[in-house]
Symmetry: C2
Subunit: 428 residues, 2 copies
Amino acid sequence: MVEVKELSRYEGQEVTVAGWVDQLRVHGKVAFLVVRDGTGYVQGVLVRKELPTEVWEIGTALTQEASVKITGSVREDARSPGGFEMGLSHVELLGPSPEYPIQPKEHGVEFLLDHRHLWLRSSQQRAGLGVRAEVEQAIHDFLYQRDFVRVDTPILSGAIGEHAGTLFATDYFGENAYLAQTGQLYAEAACPAFRNVYCFGPTFRAEKSKTRRHLTEFWMMEPEMAFVDSDGNMRFQEELISYIVERALERCGSQLDLLERDRSKLEGVTAPFPRISYTDAVTRLQEKGSSIKWGEDIGGADETLLSEDYDLPVFVFNYPRGVKAFYMKQNPDDPETVLCDDLIAPEGYGEIIGGSQREDDLELLLTRIREEKLPEEAYGWYLDLRRYGTFPHSGFGLGLERTVAWITGRKHIRELIPFPRLINRLYP
Amino acid sequence: MVEVKELSRYEGQEVTVAGWVDQLRVHGKVAFLVVRDGTGYVQGVLVRKELPTEVWEIGTALTQEASVKITGSVREDARSPGGFEMGLSHVELLGPSPEYPIQPKEHGVEFLLDHRHLWLRSSQQRAGLGVRAEVEQAIHDFLYQRDFVRVDTPILSGAIGEHAGTLFATDYFGENAYLAQTGQLYAEAACPAFRNVYCFGPTFRAEKSKTRRHLTEFWMMEPEMAFVDSDGNMRFQEELISYIVERALERCGSQLDLLERDRSKLEGVTAPFPRISYTDAVTRLQEKGSSIKWGEDIGGADETLLSEDYDLPVFVFNYPRGVKAFYMKQNPDDPETVLCDDLIAPEGYGEIIGGSQREDDLELLLTRIREEKLPEEAYGWYLDLRRYGTFPHSGFGLGLERTVAWITGRKHIRELIPFPRLINRLYP
């Protein structure tokens, strides 16, 4: 058995391919059968007079998504997807597919999400998730080449996270455990062991938010770097994003084309990226008609408004302390703000990275934990990192689905994760 | 600032290194300060008469794990860790470390686990977790090179898994959700989209087991391959394991040496691996004195007993249906067994892989789901994969911590995950 992606090597030879029926067109005594095998599409041609009756009958009765083995000789054909077609001598039905639910017509999104396990087979979904997989490998490669050590942080923990009240809880042999909202605090602990580290895995937010930018379970990649300040942090972020975009352009051309992504929007995405302080961003937003006031967080609509000014992702840095997490380092030049950055994608795709220098002063960190009324005892180990050889360090979290939504130009992040979890969706 | 790993490039130059104090020895008017910066260790030499009093005093008062910046000229010295030392001209204390809890003496394991956030800094832990990170990247590379598409499967789901009764549950906006024990069933759904896929992430077992082979949260890598049978599945497993071992030998030599791993035990690990049927394994175990009877699962002690016969990992294949999961394919030549394999590591490290061909017959699968009294409605989507274009396919799960324990020769898998979760441990 050969895979469709290798067909060019078998020109003139008889081969067998196994896959799923994508399309069948019968024109009198000739039929065209397009089969997808997961590595590509190939068209098989059935000619009635050249085939045993049985093979013709099986071949022309196939329905969408039936699984088949087709055998035939490979020949070049520019009109065939992939450039090669097969003149079929045999068709074997492996698994029938009566009344396949997803038809080549418009379906409602809830119907498609209910059938996500089948919807994955459609070309747009394959393209989007293919880019996701490439971006993940690109991230691993980028960090591995730079000697970052991967440190897998736990999902189950005591009440550690950014946003109390949006935690999923579970009974852990009689104790309460919570699902991680971030691996960052654990990654910080690994810096003195490995200097530069990262975690990359699922994170959880029990937010009752229904916007197209939110999933209750999403993947986040979080590097943490010892002896790097907020400026170095932003420089690293723009290098990483430039690399990811370049690699997607280089290796995912066919997927981006299928999704009709305007590649010119991505081609100019190279470091450095523009930077604007939170304070300047608020002024700019007010000029553009926003009602935002200094001290408020920048919401999704305002992020979109701001991103209109730029063709590149833009850093908004040094937010007010009150809208950011307790662990961000106080700005020594302006104690009302913290040394942080949000990276906002162009074209209205919103925040794809949130980063900061971390508060490395034990007393200032304790003050913030108490201000936020966080359970101090749960942070005992985290405070130890400031008790024993505290050090300047910075890091960030990259939201995988949002990043891939931007790169692929897709509107809904729920399509960029294989099995989305939304407030009303736990199935399939 | 430079990193220790790059010091050789700066011979004869004055540089600054930042890191944590590993050791300080003061011999009268000369002091030797070993600093770890996460990329390596370097020895700094302080000579009293060449330094301002203040620098000498700061340098010779440092305590374990204080964070420092040291400045000095780089010179070759074979006795220094890494081959270079620094003649120090300046020492800056960044963060003191009074009474660091982990001293260079024996500590009890519970104490060390309570201080896991600091214990990570010790050389053995760094070595073991460094090998873990290399193995993870090796797995991604191996699969990427073979066009496997990574498909991230959900953690939160309805009651889907192998072992009912060992699930962690959470309230999901009024519904019950459970933490995934496996991503396999979801990976199966992605095969018709991408042919060969894998997932790699945390999985959960609420097992009240305290053996050294169990974690409640552990990382598993699960490939799934369309049109691959049980034999092909085993062939793929042995190729993957051979690659991982070769890469660890090639790139983790210093870590394996530090852990005093007998490398000769790994050097011969190349495919093919021996195979023994479950039935023959039971006979062999009985000969060796085990009380196991046909139809029982092979426990940890018996796995160790069996592994004594082999220098290589050994496949035990075709177990009785009754001890294996419902989704494994019935053996057409012996319906009392299923087409599965466990890969048992040598030297008593136990099962590192469990794999099988999947049941692709809708009726047989339904029969098994009913036999096991599983909630049929939760498997509706999984059954759809057999309703619409069912196809032969196989896959397996590789337990990351067990694999790394074997490669590194460590006894306890809890040391091969950064923050272990055990039945009595959720902190730090």
